[in-house]
């Protein structure tokens, strides 16, 4: 395990923007005084003329992005998830979502793994908020390889996209050489027949480890990586519901309105089976090291395995 490469997806975001800039001349990047943290500073260094710092004014930044997009630019409006989806929600809805403009929102520092900054900056609500906007695509990549591919996919897609990146360095679990990203398609990371673990973001790696532990206990767990939360790959989710009869969802987000809710909504319509959600429960986070917080809030392989064992018993 010593050679596991770890990287924060925000870093992948900044690098991908820089690497794709030449191929996409309409790409411009906006930030709200957080370029060092969101890693758009990487882009800024390489393309200073295509980078615009809007200052600590996220509402205006989203509106400026809308105006740029209406004139053919592909703006990546970047800030922390809390401010992108939270503070600027209504501007994203009315100035970007309603006119369906080609704005890409790069939301970093999502979830509890923000760590020491504490509850004010730990955004566990952004997926829920963005899901309610008609026509909004939501991507939550699980590692460096997927994050880079997501940026490229967002560029090739015409319409608003919300991309969710993390602060914490996480293991690179995909192979860059063979990886293919398909917007709106879930990925079966590991097959299994007793239960499906549907995970997103940094919980995908935890789910893989949980499946390994479950196998040792004689439970065959399928692991599905949902990088595109909206539009959801309903076909795959419903197939998993039919074939494994029970689902556990795992996300670094509130259990209200996120991946778990989306999966449950789909399953109740196509193949009602038990769906047990792992995420941040109906509570605020607090300060502490990210890795400790993830454990404390049950966002771990151990908790997934434990929950899955119980969930299997719910099968009829």
């Amino acid at each position: 395990m010593a050679d596991v490469v770890k990287k924060a997806t925000r870093e992948s975001y900044g690098e991908a923007l820089r690497d794709l800039a030449e191929q996409y001349p309409q790409l411009v990047v906006l930030d709200a005084d957080l370029a060092a943290a969101t890693k758009t500073g990487i882009f800024k260094k390489a393309y200073p003329d295509r980078f615009f710092d809007c200052g600590i004014a996220e509402a205006n930044m989203m509106g400026v992005a809308a105006g740029l997009a209406s004139c053919g630019k592909i703006p990546f409006a970047s800030t922390f998830a809390m401010f992108a989806a939270g503070r600027a929600f209504e501007i994203v809805r009315n100035s970007i979502g309603y006119p369906h403009l080609n704005v890409k929102i790069g939301a970093t520092h999502a979830g509890i793994s923000v760590g020491e900054d504490g509850a004010t900056h730990q955004c566990n609500e952004d997926i829920a908020l963005m899901r309610t906007i008609p026509g909004m695509t939501i991507i939550n990549p699980c590692d460096d390889v997927e994050a880079r591919a997501a940026v490229k996919a967002a560029l090739d897609f015409n319409g608003p996209v919300y991309m969710r990146f993390g602060r914490l360095a996480v293991p690179v679990i995909n192979d860059a050489a063979t990886y293919k990203f398909e917007l709106g398609k879930g990925v079966v990371m590991r097959d299994g027949s007793d239960i499906t673990i549907v995970a997103t973001g940094l919980m995908v790696n935890e789910a893989m480890q949980a499946a390994e532990a479950l196998a040792a206990d004689g439970i065959s767990a399928r692991v599905v990586n949902i990088h595109t939360i909206k539009p959801l790959d309903r076909e795959l989710i419903c197939k998993c519901a039919r074939e494994t009869g029970v689902i556990v969802t795992a996300e670094e987000h509130s259990v209200i309105g996120g991946l778990g809710s989306a999966v449950a909504e789909a399953v109740t319509e196509c193949c009602p089976v038990p769906v047990v959600k792992i995420g941040v429960n109906d509570e605020f986070g607090h300060s502490g090291p990210a890795v400790d917080l993830l454990k404390e809030f049950g966002l771990s392989a151990e908790n997934i395995a434990k929950t899955a064992k119980e969930a299997v018993k719910l099968k009829k």
Binding site: G55, A59, N60, G63, G67, L68, S70, C71, N94, S95
Partner: protein, 279 residues
């Protein structure tokens, strides 16, 4: 401005006002007061100043317009119809189910450059359009109209800071200073005054204008065209409800549609004004 052109614009503005009354009457809702206060400015922009062509509404070199005070869409729609973007008949189905003309401007309506209506947002989009123009070395101008009540929104001042910092001299914002907002006079609700001083302090070139005098409108926008290195704000002194006697300066006409009797009286007044201009 020569007198023939001035008379032509006055006639068009009068027709635009008739469209506002026609639209809000048939919709049984809408915002006639603030629509009537911007009819002259909108008529001037679309029928004289702006480089726009209804036959080529997506021309990338065109001037842009964002109605940041989006609730006054009836005025914008009337002028767009007069300009030929869509049939004038559409005005009668404003706000109806299945209608082209939504209660607030929608980008999918021919001639509308940006969806707007949630106050404070349009000016940010206008900043983005102006920034895109700078990036592409295009010479188009971006115009936006805000309400004086609207500028109580904090986002307006985020945008004001941004526009000045980025030296968006291709942006002209008009503040429609009719002095009234929904809850009463702006001076009593939560005063945004002194408006000119605030924009000047934010680094904008400030012009004041009589919103109902085409000579003065022409003077103000001509001056705006000469400004380099900073964005321009035109604070226009206007009369809410302008052109319809019983609506003028009445806060109650912010968001109330005329009934049949009021509709007939308003149309009679505007028809008389038009006849006078045509004689």
């Amino acid at each position: 401005m020569d007198s023939a052109k001035k008379k032509e614009l006055q006639k068009l503005a009068c027709k635009a006002r008739m469209g506002v009354i026609e639209g809000t009457y048939n919709a049984k809702s809408g915002h006639p007061g603030g629509s009537l206060s911007i009819c002259d400015t909108l008529t001037y922009l679309y029928c004289d100043k702006m480089n726009v062509d209804p036959k080529n509404p997506e021309d990338t070199d065109r001037d842009r317009f964002v109605l940041s005070k989006g609730h006054t869409a009836p005025a914008l729609y009337s002028v767009l119809a007069l300009k030929g973007y869509f049939p004038e008949e559409e005005i009668k189905s404003l706000r109806h189910i299945g209608a082209l003309l939504q209660g607030h401007p929608c980008i999918h309506i021919p001639g509308v450059d940006m969806s707007s209506g949630s106050l404070g947002q349009g000016i940010s989009a206008a900043c983005g359009m102006a920034l895109a123009g700078k990036l592409d070395n295009k010479s188009y101008k971006v115009y936006t109209i805000l309400g004086d009540g609207e500028i109580e929104e904090g986002q307006v001042w985020e945008a004001a800071m941004f526009a000045a910092h980025k030296k968006l001299d291709n942006l002209v914002a008009v503040v429609d200073n009719n002095g009234l907002q929904i809850d009463g006079p702006i001076s009593e609700v939560c005063s945004p005054e002194p408006i000119t001083d605030k924009f000047a302090a934010f680094g904008w070139h400030v012009i004041t204008m009589d919103a109902h005098d085409f000579d003065d409108i022409d003077r103000a926008f001509t001056e705006a065209s000469t400004v380099a290195g900073k964005p321009v704000v035109i604070v226009q002194k206007s009369t809410k409800g302008k052109g319809v006697s019983f609506m003028e300066n009445q806060v109650g006409w912010h968001g109330t549609a005329p009934n049949k009797e009021q509709y007939e009286q308003a149309m009679a007044e505007l028809t008389a004004q038009l006849k006078e201009l045509e004689d």
